[in-house]
């Protein structure tokens, strides 16, 4: 079987399992299985590899366990061998170690590759930058190149990487859009980068994945992925029709509440840290930060 075919087979088995699990009968609700961009697709691919490997291990254990349980019961007349002193077998023990090591290597190699690969925006593609600040209990998005800001809603162009620079003016949250890719923390006085990309137009929901107080459940937002021309039109529309954000507006956003999406045609630069302390900007990051036009 070719590699591609086996990959498809794995995906098929996994989908079948997922659909079987879904009592609602609606597989589309399994957002992790429906990636809408390269990052989420790559992560799903690794999840499939690890799941398939682990299912093999689970089945080996279950089958051996089942046989032992049936064959060696303490029932009168059981003809199976009884060897109370049988306590080692070199070949068997080495075999177990070998199986475990092989399984570990199968998982370790793609883990290594993908961790490094996903750490960088793909070379040759220039990302659009969005500065994200988690607040109690809402998301503030600022587009440094477009000079607009939004709350709890973003438009992004399709087929272009989006570099999210994440920080918090609140307790920690994580920024997560499951169909576009995995999450990353937002932390006060740190800026962490995360790149995602939508390869097809659509409306994808996002939420915070880290508890941050009683309004945390309301920290949801929508990501609207649209073709570049539509995106540019949307930016122009926001710039011409929406109010400017002042520092007073920003302080209003710091209040402990949740609100509907908002749009601003401009925002004060001081609302996002120009410099951060700690290690994030000095190497050792999950991802090298692209120089951002400020």
């Amino acid at each position: 079987m070719s590699f591609k075919r086996s990959k498809r087979a794995i995906r098929f088995i996994f989908m079948a399992l997922a659909i079987g699990l879904s009592v609602s009968g609606c597989g589309n609700d399994f957002v992790l299985l429906h990636p809408a961009g390269p990052v989420a697709a790559s992560e799903l691919n690794l999840i499939e590899i690890t799941a398939a490997t682990m299912i093999v291990i689970i089945l080996i254990v279950w089958v051996l366990f089942g046989i032992a349980l049936v064959r060696f019961r303490d029932t009168p007349g059981n003809k199976a061998p009884y060897r109370p002193l049988w306590d080692h077998n070199k070949k068997l023990e080495l075999g177990v170690i070998a199986v475990s090591v092989v399984a570990a290597v199968i998982i370790a190699v793609p883990t290594w590759n993908k961790t490094f690969a996903l750490a960088h925006v793909p070379k040759g593609k220039s990302p659009i930058v969005i500065d994200v600040t988690s607040l109690d209990w809402k998301w503030l998005f600022e587009y440094p190149s477009q000079h607009i800001a939004t709350v709890n809603y973003i438009d992004v162009p399709t087929n272009r990487p989006v570099l999210f620079e994440l920080t918090a003016d609140s307790p920690m949250n994580t920024f997560w859009v499951p169909q576009l890719g995995g999450m990353e923390y937002t932390m006060p006085s740190e800026v962490l980068p995360l790149w995602l990309e939508a390869s097809k137009p659509g409306l994808y929901w996002g939420r915070s994945g880290n508890f941050s107080g009683s309004g945390f459940v309301h920290m949801t937002f929508n990501v609207h992925a649209v073709p570049a021309s539509t995106f540019n039109a949307w930016v122009r529309n926001v710039k011409t029709t929406q109010p400017k954000m002042t520092m007073a507006d920003y302080r209003q956003l710091l209040k402990f509440n949740w609100i509907a999406p908002r749009y601003y045609s401009a925002y004060p630069a001081a609302t996002f840290p120009a410099e951060t302390h700690g290690f994030t900007l000095e190497g050792g990051m999950y991802m090298e930060m692209q120089p951002t036009p400020k």
Partner: protein
């Protein structure tokens, strides 16, 4: 006066649910006090239990406390699941839900699992290694009372002062005063510091006990597997709890004295807390599971009537796990920007630690292989562990694969995973241990029929509760959400999960009934060896006398008692009257109890910032230390006549 009342009884303590709990607590306390007074049991309680330093009685007290805490933590769990049963539910408000998931997690880890583990240590280890007590009996009692008063402190928070509400991990800055006024978080911090001190002392105690007090002939490689896992667990405790205490104390300083270790402003660094917490937290999960691994090794071998397969591989696996468990903590926060290289290191170490664990699973199966499996309740818990835990371990590896974790982090996939390993590993193992060693400390066997009912309800309930949660993770449901709306497709799986939780609750009720019923009507264990056991504890009568062994046994083989039985040498447990000598035992003391009380008073003072009360508590602690230090009258002789009478009553006197 009114400000004091507002401090003691904020709105979160005056909801209907809390007020009904108040009534129940007052009624139960009144009933206990009435019982103790009416039947003149106060003295008995003080003399036989509160001041005891006997490891077996301390083990029983840990067991009772742990089952009580399982009730509290389980009630919390059922409330959480009831709230999530249907979308847009209003059974609990968001604040209420936040408090309950915080106390659920904290109680289950620190005040249920840990004491149940220490119950097993105390009940089994000295008997297993042929010792008369632990190395430091009074310290053992101090450990218990620090735990007990810390548990009490943590549990009163919801009726006086308000519960903590920032999750059992309590990440700052959410736990800082700016976001978390009120005293709830102080309760959490003080309770964990105090119980942590007790736990550390327990680690020291069992480390020294196992290294120094084994019976003659019991070399390290002849120790029962449970002694091995207890030994390495003790080492893990010694290195894991200091970072936790540091994290707790620094947060407390931020809250009480205005420092800025983890605050948002003034240079605070919340991520430092996360590192400290998981530097404790990851070894902690092995602290939770290794003792159970030891119990499975004993139980599976006993009820397969066969030697443990691959003993030395098991020992090296446990040592490898111990070592590696300090190199995996970052996998709890891959998504916190530590860098690709760091993440790969910790991802691979996580995958690596699965190898020794996997080897152990296979070795238990091979222990059953070529054996004769007897289906007792203790064995059923151990058997249930194997197919369950392997799923939890497998999903753990999936979480260790870094980019996969970016999608799974904090989702219900994670929730399902850690309940899968902690219930499927730790709890199943401890239940197996409870059913296995119960006759040794109580002298009665637990009813098997009731035990099987409890087992099946709990086991099936477990699968029903947590398998749907894996799927919910794939649907994007994250932890600690107090409610969810229609339209995500989460409703039916949540309902199934809730049903499963209530089935588990029913299993718990049957189990407690089983305990109580068996204590009254259960079959009396006359032989001291009801399971045809392999290790030394089964050579003693049930319940074992205070001094454990009239004569310390000499060990010549790995399964010492099994070997004696095979060689027809079981009469070594019988003793000739002229061979009996006086036995020196530690003497009961009120100091451990009073020291726990002092820490309680100190903690209450710290929680409410009443410095004079904190000062009084601290003074009490200093006095206890001084009195204890100069108390040279700390042991007693059991006269040989008394030993002769006891042994003769057990029919273990020769000639």
């Amino acid at each position: 006066m009114s400000s004091l009342l507002a401090l003691l009884f904020p709105p979160s303590t005056t909801r209907n649910m809390e007020l009904s709990a108040d009534v129940l607590i007052i009624l139960a306390s009144a009933a206990i006090i009435f019982y103790l007074t009416r039947w003149h049991r106060w003295k008995y309680l003080w003399r036989e239990w509160l001041t005891t330093v006997d490891h077996k009685k301390i083990g029983i007290m840990y067991l009772i406390a742990a089952v009580t805490m399982l009730f509290r933590g389980g009630t919390d769990a059922l409330l959480l699941r009831a709230q999530l049963a249907v979308p847009n539910n209003h059974l609990l408000g968001p604040l209420h839900y936040d408090e309950i998931f915080t106390t659920h997690g904290t109680i289950m880890i620190f005040f249920m699992a840990m004491p149940l583990i220490f119950a097993m240590f105390n009940i089994a280890i000295p008997l297993m290694i042929g010792s008369r007590d632990v190395a430091f009996p009074r310290l053992n009692a101090i450990s218990f009372w620090l735990f007990a008063f810390a548990a009490f402190l943590f549990n009163i928070s919801f009726v006086i002062g308000g519960s903590p509400n920032a999750g059992w991990t309590a990440y700052p800055p959410l736990t800082e005063l700016a976001f978390n006024p009120g005293v709830g978080q102080n309760y959490y911090l003080m309770a964990l510091v105090v119980t942590g001190l007790g736990t550390t002392a327990t680690g020291i105690n069992f480390l020294v006990t196992i290294l120094r007090m084994r019976a003659p002939g019991m070399t390290l490689m002849r120790m029962p597997m449970f002694a091995w896992t207890t030994l390495v667990t003790s080492v893990l405790i010694l290195f894991a709890f200091p970072p936790l205490t540091v994290a707790m104390v620094l947060t407390l300083f931020d809250r009480l004295f205005g420092t800025a270790f983890f605050t948002i402003g003034r240079g605070g660094m919340p991520m430092m807390y996360v590192n400290l917490f998981w530097l404790f937290g990851h070894p902690e999960v092995y602290i939770l599971v290794l003792p159970s691994f030891g119990i499975f090794s004993e139980v599976v071998a006993t009820f397969s009537r066969k030697k443990l397969f691959g003993y030395s591989t098991m020992v090296y696996s446990v040592l490898a796990i111990t070592f590696l468990s300090y190199g995996t903590w970052v996998h709890h926060f891959f998504t916190m920007g530590a860098g690709a290289a760091v993440n790969v290191f910790f991802g691979l170490s996580t995958i690596l630690i699965a190898i020794p664990t996997g080897i152990k699973i296979f070795n238990w199966i091979f222990t059953m292989w070529n054996g004769r499996i007897k289906m007792t309740v203790a064995m059923m818990w151990a058997l249930a562990f194997i197919p369950t835990f392997v799923v939890g371990g497998a999903t753990g590896v999936m979480l260790g694969a870094v980019p996969g974790d970016y999608q799974f982090h904090n989702s219900y996939f994670l929730i399902a995973h850690f309940h899968n390993v902690i219930i499927g590993g730790t709890v199943f193992g401890l239940m197996s241990g409870v059913y296995y060693w119960w006759p040794k400390v109580t002298g009665r066997l637990l009813n098997e029929r009731q035990g099987k009912w409890a087992f099946w309800l709990f086991f099936l309930g477990f699968w029903l509760t947590f398998m749907p949660q894996y799927a919910l993770g794939f649907m994007g449901m994250t932890r600690r959400m107090y409610t969810y709306s229609h339209g995500f497709g989460w409703s039916s799986l949540n309902l199934i999960s809730t049903i499963g939780a209530f089935v588990m609750g029913a299993g718990f009720v049957v189990m407690v009934y089983n305990f109580v019923w068996s204590q009254i009507h259960g079959e009396i264990d006359v032989t001291g060896d009801p399971w045809n056991g392999r290790t030394l504890e089964w050579s003693t009568p049930s319940p074992a006398p205070e001094y454990n062994f009239a004569r310390i046994p000499v060990v010549t083989d790995r399964d010492a008692w099994w070997a004696m039985k095979q060689e027809q040498k079981t009469n070594v447990v019988q003793i000739k009257p002229q061979e009996i000598t006086d036995i020196e035992l530690p003497k009961s003391s009120g100091i451990p109890f009073l020291m726990g009380l002092s820490f309680f008073v100190f903690s209450v003072g710290m929680v409410f910032s009443w410095w004079w009360i904190a000062g009084a508590g601290f003074l009490g602690f200093v006095v206890c230390m001084l009195v204890g230090t100069f108390d040279y009258d700390d042991h007693k002789e059991v006269p040989r006549q008394e030993i002769q009478n006891t042994e003769s009553a057990f029919g273990r006197l020769q000639g």
